[in-house]
């Protein structure tokens, strides 16, 4: 890949593979990928789990890119590969011009501290620390002085609407509020790329909607590159500039949400968007009835 091609791309993923060993006894290295025969043999092997199969994608700076798929389609593995919480078996990842896949462990630590911030479905907050300490956690990890980290954290807490909760512990917060802490912890880092792994999936519908609105409002201010994983199509439609649909470790379709709804590439995607289309049609009919009546 030449430098010219990388311009205007915040995230580039090329031919990314992740093969797990079910028994954890084997480690599959990139050499299997170079040998088509071995690869085919491995696909028949019950020990090998192909979580991500040759995914290639790119995301533009400031874009909200959605990965959608059912559980088990490899989307969570994919997002973890981006900061190597999961070590990819093979392939190539570049984020903001830095080649993630070839980083040494100390480069990786610096990269995670400065370039990306992640929000998790299960929050991943530290139960023994207060909201304020949780939000400043990443800043303290990268060695920012306590006073400065505190200031930044207070500002981020304010931004996500949790002012007044600084000294509470995560246990005394509701799910929605915990995820606000998760978002504040990510925002405070000032990283250009935000990775979100089903951040709103565990929340009830009203809170989910509220947080989606909040995220859109924040995104309007900060303009980060957001890589967002979800299994919820309506969420994808609301938030996404572009989206990719994953199935069994492969990306089956990439496009704007409108493209995907109006022109599903295959049966699987069609079934995925069917509900949404039916709802749209029903709503349209009702509106037409209303207009006529």
């Amino acid at each position: 890949m030449t430098a010219v091609e990388s311009v205007g791309k915040a995230i580039e993923i090329e031919d990314l593979w992740k093969i797990y060993s079910r028994t954890k006894k084997n480690r599959y290295g990139s050499e299997v990928l170079r040998n088509p025969e071995k690869l085919r043999a491995l696909e028949g092997n019950s020990d090998a789990v192909f979580a991500v199969k040759g995914v290639s994608l790119w995301v533009a700076p400031g874009e909200t890119f959605i990965i959608m798929g059912l559980s088990g389609s490899g989307k969570s593995t994919l997002i973890r590969c981006l900061l190597r919480l999961v070590e990819p078996t093979g392939g190539f990842i570049k984020i903001n011009g830095e080649e993630v896949t070839s980083m040494t462990s100390s480069e990786l630590v610096a990269f995670r501290r400065n370039q990306v911030a992640m929000v998790f479905q299960h929050y991943g907050l530290l139960p023994h620390r207060t909201v304020l300490q949780n939000v400043s956690f990443g800043l303290r990890l990268r060695g920012e002085p306590a006073e400065k980290a505190r200031e930044k954290a207070l500002e981020a807490i304010q931004k996500v609407g949790l002012a007044g909760w600084e000294d509470h512990h995560p246990v005394s917060l509701s799910g929605g509020m915990r995820q606000r802490v998760g978002i504040a912890r990510a925002l405070v880092m000032g990283s250009p790329v935000l990775l979100m792994d089903e951040p709103f999936s565990g929340l009830d519908p009203l809170i989910r909607r509220e947080l989606q609105d909040e995220l859109m409002r924040l995104q309007g201010e900060i303009r980060k590159t957001i890589f967002f994983v979800t299994h919820d199509l309506s969420e994808a439609l609301r938030l996404g500039d572009r989206m990719a649909v994953m199935r069994d470790g492969r990306v089956v379709q990439v496009g704007t949400p409108e493209d995907i709804i109006s022109d599903p590439v295959d049966e699987y995607v069609a079934r995925f968007v069917q509900d949404e289309r039916e709802q749209l049609r029903r709503a349209e009919r009702r509106m037409a009835d209303k207009a006529a009546g």
């Binding site: 992640m118 998790f120 991943g124 139960p127 023994h128 990890l141």
Partner: protein, 283 residues
Amino acid sequence: MFPQSLEFHIAPKINRFVDWLVVSHAPFFDSVSAGILKVLLSINGFLNQVPWWVIIAVVALTVWSTTKKVFPTLLLSFLPFIIGVFGLWGLAMETLSVVCTAVILALLLGIPLGVFMAEVSGAATVLKPLLDAMQTMPSFVYLIPAMMLFGLGKVPAVLATLIYALPPVIRLTALGLQQVPASVEEAALAYGATHWQLLKEVRIPLAMPSILAGVNQTTMMALAMVVVASMIGARGLGQEVLLSINRIDVGRGFEAGASVVAMAIVIDRITQGIARKWEPPKR
């Protein structure tokens, strides 16, 4: 009957090994002994200098600050008072100094070993059976080599106590570290925690309640062992128990036994109270 022709004894070999150790490594054991004795004597000296009512006041304050309840505070500060009433205060302080020394050593060794057991794959497979053996071996057995290597008195008592009391803190440290939720560890890593930061900022604080439960168990076991250790000449409450057995003096035995129980209850409640302080807050 098991055929005598199949008998094979390893006892002589073990004896010869211990003999060899005693003879060839005497300077080493002497210096270890001197080091432990120094710690022990300074703790003992300190405990003897402090007036009795200060110790009771410290107990009362610690219990009050961890429980904030009047009744437990009064009860737990009354228990050491009983020991004094029985005229066993000095001996109790000697026992306490042996327990403290053994526990300090057990924590210095045990917590790092527990971290090692949790962090290094394969370490658990080696250490676990060893810890099981250490705990199931009759405690008297430790007295023999401890006595041979370090002579009579308090130092071998500390060492025998140390071996006996070490397993719980190792085990519970490792257990606590393994129970840290994967989602929390993952989040810490995602924000750029190094291996050391992960351990220091996330895993050890989250494992703290379990580690402190280990400290509590270790202290209790040390107290139980210290009575047994009086058989090799460690002065203290155990010696009093031993004397009353020899003289079949039931009353005296009861006084000494009750004093051990009183000490155990106080130490147990205090360490438990401290452990509770470290638990992540609930609502």
